[in-house]
Structure formats: structure tokens, C-alpha cells
Symmetry: C2
Subunit: 224 residues, 2 copies
DNA sequence: TTTTTTCTGGGGGTTATCCCCTATATTGCT
DNA sequence: AGCAATATAGGGGATAACCCCCAGAAAAAA
């Protein structure tokens, strides 16, 4: 960390308060420099492409383009900027998705300031960083979200994913049939197969399951 | 705001980053002074009792004691400190609860910095402040949470509340009947009456409704 | 090309929920 | 004491979801 040139860092968060706090923290370090800030993902991406900072610290929830979408873009085009993702929640599904988007660091916002600094430092040195609170649970076997990811993404077929998504949107079998231009009976078959694959038994089991994991499901099933 | 003595402000948030940002914003104003900061509610409360600041800005979600509990304590003992609550979400139920805890300001964290300053200023002058995004919807008639609060608490009878709570815990009519030592038919009647009062129609409407508002419901129905 | 999987339909059945009734006992309020 | 609301219980019916079976067509994989 004894380079002459300071490490350039772009920060992006739609919460002004957070942006302010983050900037203060970074500017306390003499070898770091905030080369830009953004309040939405698109602006952040444009600035990254323009100025190619060493590191970009992105909030995961931002207007126009979320942090992961920015990360995916950077990763696919092999740009040099290392991405650190900020999040409010320790959501394992997000972490695994982030890793596949080439994210180098994953920091939970409630971290102590020293932990945040340590994370940025690690990534600046070319390493990977996960907030302590996150990494603990990461290797803790099958979390709810892992089940969801594996089961919904891997085991379910395209049509089954479409159906389960529409179920989660409060549509009945008949509605789904109309929407997909297939017979209600076919939809029932799909429902039945979904229940088998997800090991759901009993009346309204699928409905309960789907409403219980509504947000997570709809996040996973965006592509359908 | 031309007093000689600066306005003393205590800030509390379990997110160090936020705390940092908040402190920076406040210290930019010459007539304001951060007289203390805390990362949990108990610490905040102790400091408020000790130093009686003019204003305390409290995050709603904090370890040990949440922001509303602190506000309630301050309010019940008629301490002079004015409370401003910070929150991530525009949850109307929280606002109404906060108002009954004597809270003077309610600021959503994603507000622009100027809005935050305006809010603190308003409360410092003895006024009440609600973030623009919040107040807009507050007077917008029947919000989801108002429906819940009014309908569930006021319109539903004791038994109906017990039943809807057990429905939200994934119990079937038969299970509920066994648990309450009444006939399944009675439970069905209660369900039916609940549906009428909540204006729910169609198959599984109650189940959908209840799962949709699970957390809110169980928060409201703690006493059952 | 052969094989497997998926998608598409259907028959027929059980059950839970919702919905419309009626009716009695109890509780609480005026 | 009388009235209203509530809790209890049931009859009977409609429908949606689940559950088992089967089978042909289409698509994907081997």
C-alpha cells in the first residue's frame, strides 16, 4: 500500500446519508481517493466505464440499475474495476449470485467502520472479502435460500417456473391456464409436479410455500 | 435559531456508516452540536437521561432497545428531549405507533440530506416533521396497515382474532378446532365472519390475505 | 437415431375452503 | 328485564387445490 498513486474508489448508494458516511470513511485514509459518487446504478456504471476506478463500492438496492447488474456488466466485459457490494441484509442467495457476478467483496452495512475499511483494503490488495457476520453462515449447509436456488432454478423446468411464478402472483389454476394458453388440466399437472419436486404435501401447500417465499421467489424468477 | 447556545443532539444508529453520515451532516450546521452517539437503544436512553439533549435522533431498529421503546420511555416521563425517529421503510403502522409514543419527527433514511436537515430544524423549532414520501401516503385514506389495525383490532372479536392468528400459523380449520376445543364448524363460521369483515372473497382468500400480512398480523395479535 | 425429458391433455377422486342458511346459549349493556 | 352482540353448532352446496393414474406430441439429449 505504499504506491505513489492513491487508490481511486467510486461509491454509489441511493441513501445520501450512507454516501456521506462512506465518503468520510474513505477520505480518512490517505492512500484512498473518492473519484466519484452516484445515487443510482446507471450513473455508477457510466462513471466506472469513463474513469475506470480501482474499486467501486455499490449498494445492492439502487434505482435504474441495481448493484449486481452493474457488477455483471463489469465482469462480462473484463473491466479492471473491482466491485464491492454493500447490503443491508445477510442474504446468502445474494452472496452466491454476487460471486457469480464477479464481485470481490461483500460488506454488510451494519459492519463496524474498521471492518469496512479492512474489506476495502483486502479487495484493494486483490483479495476477496466477506463481512464476518456473513461468512459465518455461508458454510452452514442448506439455508432456505440455497434450497430455493437449487430447487427452483435447477430442478424445475421452464414451464414449471412460469407456473410457480404465476401462482405467487395470486393467480388461480384457471387464470394461469388462460394466461399461458394451455389447458387448466396441464397447469394442474405442472402444479402437481412442482409439489412433488418441492416435497410439498397437503391442501394449499404450494400456495403457502409460495406466499411464504414470495419476495425471494420473484427475485429468482425474474427471467420468466 | 440565533441562540447563543447550540442545539444539542444525540444520535443513535446501529449502523456505523449511518452514524458517521449523520454526524457529518449535523456538524456542518454551526448551531447544532452532536452531544453523544450510541449504537443501541439502551445506551442512547442512558445518555438521554444523563445529558438531556434537545433532540435525539434514533434509528428504529437497534439492539437491546428499539427506537420506539426509547421514545415511549422519554414520553412517559415527560423528559424534555424531542425524539426524531429514523427508519428505512415507510411503514404507516410504525408512524402511527411512533406518534403515540410522542415522537416529533419521522424521517425516512433515503431522504435527501436537505430534507433531513429540514426535519431536524423543524423539530428544533418545536414543530413536527414527516418525510415528504411518508406524509403523502399518510393522509391517503385507508392504507394497508390502517386496515389491519382498525379491522383486526377493532372489528374482529376475541375469538375471531384467535382464529385468524392460528390461520396465519398455517393451521387448518380442523387443527384450529382441536386447539380451541370447539367444533370445526364453529371455526368455519368464524372464518366466514372474518372474511366478511375483511371483505375477502374467493377460494383461499383468507389464507392469501393472512400470509401476505403475516408479520404485521402477528405483531398486532401478540396478545391473543 | 434412439432415448429421455418435458409439455401437453385427460379421468376420477379426496379434501379444505368459502358461502349461504338456521338456531341456541351466553355474555354484556342499557 | 330486555336487547344486541358474540360464541357455539350444524345443513348443504360450490369450487379450487391436491393427488393418483394414463398417454400422445414435442423437444432436448444421448
Amino acid at each position: 500500500m505504499n504506491d505513489a498513486a492513491p487508490i481511486s474508489i467510486l461509491i454509489a448508494d441511493d441513501h445520501p446519508l450512507f454516501l456521506k458516511g462512506l465518503r468520510e470513511i474513505i477520505e480518512q485514509e490517505s492512500e484512498w481517493r473518492v473519484c466519484g459518487s452516484a445515487q443510482d446504478g446507471q450513473d455508477a456504471l457510466d462513471q466506472i466505464v469513463d474513469t475506470s476506478p480501482d474499486i467501486a463500492i455499490l449498494d445492492i438496492n439502487m434505482p435504474r440499475l441495481d448493484g449486481l447488474a452493474v457488477a455483471r456488466y463489469i465482469h462480462e466485459r473484463h473491466l479492471s474495476t473491482a466491485i464491492i457490494i454493500l447490503t443491508m441484509y445477510d442474504d446468502e442467495l445474494l452472496i452466491s449470485r454476487a460471486v457469480s457476478c464477479g464481485v470481490k467483496g461483500f460488506i454488510i452495512k451494519e459492519s463496524a467502520i474498521d471492518d469496512i475499511i479492512a474489506g476495502v483494503e483486502t479487495v484493494a490488495r486483490g483479495g476477496y472479502f466477506l463481512s464476518p457476520r456473513l461468512s459465518g453462515r455461508l458454510f452452514h449447509g442448506s439455508s432456505e435460500h440455497h434450497i430455493l436456488q437449487n430447487v427452483v432454478r435447477m430442478e424445475l423446468t421452464k414451464m414449471e417456473r412460469k407456473v410457480i411464478r404465476l401462482v405467487s402472483e395470486d393467480l388461480t389454476t384457471r387464470d394461469i391456464a388462460e394466461k399461458l394458453f394451455i389447458s387448466p388440466k396441464t397447469v394442474e399437472n405442472h402444479r402437481s409436479n412442482i409439489c412433488k419436486k418441492l416435497k410439498l404435501h397437503g391442501k394449499n401447500a404450494l400456495l403457502r410455500y409460495v406466499l411464504e417465499h414470495k419476495e425471494t421467489l420473484q427475485r429468482i424468477l425474474q427471467e420468466c
